[in-house]
Symmetry: C2
Subunit: 193 residues, 2 copies
């Protein structure tokens, strides 16, 4: 199982944002939609062994929420940003507690953010100064990425002891980094260099 | 200079499609928008040395049109699909002839499709059976990709003698393949393995 978690620092925690304005009203929800698609889509297929956790930290909820897209069971997802956005809205429109609750096939939501996730799973972080993924002995099981903003000091503290990896010399968007990581993973699984 | 050309087999050749329905009314214009963004965006920066050609083959124009995004001069482009879509609409809303005409900074349009492009530039093609890009002596200058549909027989004929490259064992979306290609290019430029 491969997982990605993306921190949406300003991303809405209710479903009130219009699909026509994911970047503005959604709190850069467009970034998170692209990460869902980079994590789960192959050409004419889905990555059934991959999970994508969206950690939404914006208003109006006083605590973060996490929306989980599971490649194993997701349906009705198309690769355009609005499609993922519509499923995120659906997840945010239902009441939720501290355990994942299904909102649609393969899409679930719970209260809690990075701290909870890092307690449940062994995480790694992308960092320009980290180990080049091509030279890494083993690829990480779960990678935490940030949206258009840097990790906060509190997030850095949670992630302090995580191993750090780099995908290359250029500073990429989170969804692009996911694509490069998955390419490295695909190559290893198939015995490519 | 690195260039990508993406064939949009059903993509509208006028600006009448609504930004709220890029996949349907736009003829999978969402695919092309993602390719523009994969070609030109870095985190908080643009790839100023990269060009992205969108070859639009859908209705209503009797001949294809090509919209060119030039990283060197494009402005007012955000990484969400709607933003690229709005600039494509703008380009398709002006009359054009057989030479590129500016529609917005860094965005221009002309009549003509793949045949014209392949006559102007040395092209390469992505192919699962092609040379692995990691082992390629030199990376191609211009790569032609298809949208969600395969190349037509006529397109395959135009591209018949082009060198063929593969980005990995998994069959990816065009925008994902562009991201992997650019990662390989970034690594070579910076002396990474």
């Amino acid at each position: 199982m491969t997982g990605f978690a993306i921190i949406g620092h300003l991303a809405r925690t209710d479903g009130s944002f219009p699909l026509n304005d994911l970047p503005g009203s959604g709190g850069r929800m467009d970034v998170l939609c692209r990460c869902v698609n980079a994590s789960l889509f192959l050409s004419h297929d889905l990555r059934r062994d991959t999970e994508c956790f969206l950690v939404l930290c914006g208003p109006p909820s006083p605590v973060p929420k996490t929306v989980l897209f599971s490649g194993s069971s997701v349906r009705s997802l198309s690769p355009d940003e609005r499609s993922a956005g519509a499923l995120i809205k659906k997840a945010l429109d239902i009441p939720c507690g501290s355990e994942f609750r299904d909102a649609a096939p393969g899409v679930s939501v719970r209260k809690g953010g990075l701290e909870r996730l890092a307690a449940d799973r062994t995480c790694a972080v992308l960092d320009e100064k980290g180990t080049d993924i091509r030279g890494a002995g083993e690829l990480p099981d779960m990678v935490v990425l940030s949206d258009h903003l840097n990790f906060t000091d509190a997030e850095e503290e949670v992630l302090r002891d995580c191993p750090r990896f780099s995908v290359g010399p250029a500073c990429l968007h989170a969804d692009q980094a996911i694509t490069v990581l998955l390419n490295e993973s695909d190559r290893r699984k198939c015995g490519w260099k």
